[in-house]
Symmetry: C3
């Protein structure tokens, strides 16, 4: 599955840049920027591996993640003014990232003999919690809780994978179809500005 | 100890609802609400299990926690306007929850051959840190640090359990007596609006 | 290495006091103060041990950390008005603390057969993340990301240790030299008010 590994690295790269951008806007020094890029990129997988006791955890077992993140931070510094114009490429990488993170996390969960539903949660944790940890460390209410269709996209793609898996469809084909579901939902959501319904305070009569 | 399991689930249910309520007031979307309900309900036990290396951790080893939380969130949505009137029932569940969480956490610590003092900390972590994680994720200074008698109630009940345990009192009886201590302190604290003394800034001469 | 253990405990003591001071300024009650002192002092080592699967984790495997922290909190309460005048002693303990935490964390990483670069990260996590967790729990953007030379000092000392280690220099001598590097950089940084360059928002063209 070499192509999946390449996509995983690409996603890590995109997540690292997104983290570095958030941190620079907060006036962090270079260490702060690296740490935020780091947790954004590998925080989700790290949390997953701690939860399911998969040691060595992601970035300790494979140093390529660290190098990728450092290169991502370097690129952010060097090509900062060019990132805005490259926005769409960047969005594409990011979206590929969440698709690959979700499905790899889910597969890892299944390979650890977790209940499919728990494996699905692990897929979502992998894709989503890097951003949550980033937001917590920068004192923001995690974006994902408020207006991202992220989680729904991951959930739908993950469910698709579990269904295909249940019917013993070939792993590679399942992976591709499910990725398309996640990427498709995310792209459509951005195009049509979809959002999940919010729970209004007043419906609780207060 | 079937009754304890039922109380554990009841407590999980109450904690999930309390988390869902906090999240809805923050305008979170449905995923945000579920995640906050989730960490509120099982975050303490999850942290405990990670700290003492008890795998599979609570909600991975027993899916009933997840179903309970999802039902709790559903109930919050369906019966939102009825929760306010049911406040006292809700408070009772919540209080039973912290008692059971504390004592089950403590027992788990002891069964892992931890020092009684560390086991006591694990009991408190189980009861208290779900709320701490909830508050961190919603960008609030954790309530527990400021004006809750929660921790003192858990500590007192946990100490009581350890003392009874030391004198080889029957586990079930110890559990009941210690629960009564925790529930009693919490109820009395709310009735008489007790608070722990605060450490004033000025006493540090600043 | 008895002297190192003593320094480790001294550092834990200093970190606990620093945590207790931060928490008191936030009007926390006594439990809040203890929890913040606790995570400040052992949070970094705890995170390291969870990441590298080193169980029992630091404060569970050695109760002296807990007693040290409790004594530290007690001292903060008793001698609060005397801490300000003792500022320099306190700063010294704190600085010794980060040096010892960094190098012990790095050594632990190496003893777990981690890649030297990952071991270096573990040293920095040990020294720095207690403060990060403290800041997250008190709803502040972690100080370390913004204006501390902390991380650079730890990094430099850790690198020094790895280099000396590579050339098979005696462990004790390496430890001493690397400590001096960390303590020296930190002291010089404070004396000359050095800071790492900040990443300005505007350089990203926004």
């Amino acid at each position: 599955m070499n192509i999946v590994y390449v996509l995983d690295i690409l996603g890590t790269f995109a997540f690292a840049i997104s983290g570095a951008l958030v941190a620079s806007k907060k006036q962090f020094d270079i260490f702060g920027v690296i740490i935020i890029a780091f947790v954004t990129a590998v925080g989700g997988g790290m949390l997953r591996d701690i939860l399911i006791n998969a040691h060595p955890i992601n970035w300790i077992g494979d140093l390529n993640y660290i190098w990728t993140i450092l290169i991502g931070v370097l690129c952010t510094f060097l090509f900062k003014s060019k990132i805005e114009p490259l926005r769409k490429t960047f969005f594409l990488f990011d979206t590929i990232g969440i698709a690959v993170f979700t499905l790899l996390g889910l597969q890892k969960g299944l390979s650890f003999n977790l209940h499919p539903f728990v494996a699905l949660i692990m897929g979502m944790v992998s894709a989503v919690f890097g951003g949550v940890i980033r937001d917590v460390l920068t004192s923001k209410v995690p974006l994902i809780f408020k207006k991202e269709i992220y989680a729904s996209a991951c959930l739908s793609g993950g469910l698709m994978y579990l269904i295909l898996n249940y019917f013993s469809i070939d792993t590679t084909i399942s992976f591709i179809i499910s990725s398309v579901v996640i990427i498709g939902i995310r792209v459509l959501a951005v195009l049509f500005e979809l959002e999940l319904p919010k729970v209004k305070d007043d419906i609780f009569g207060k």
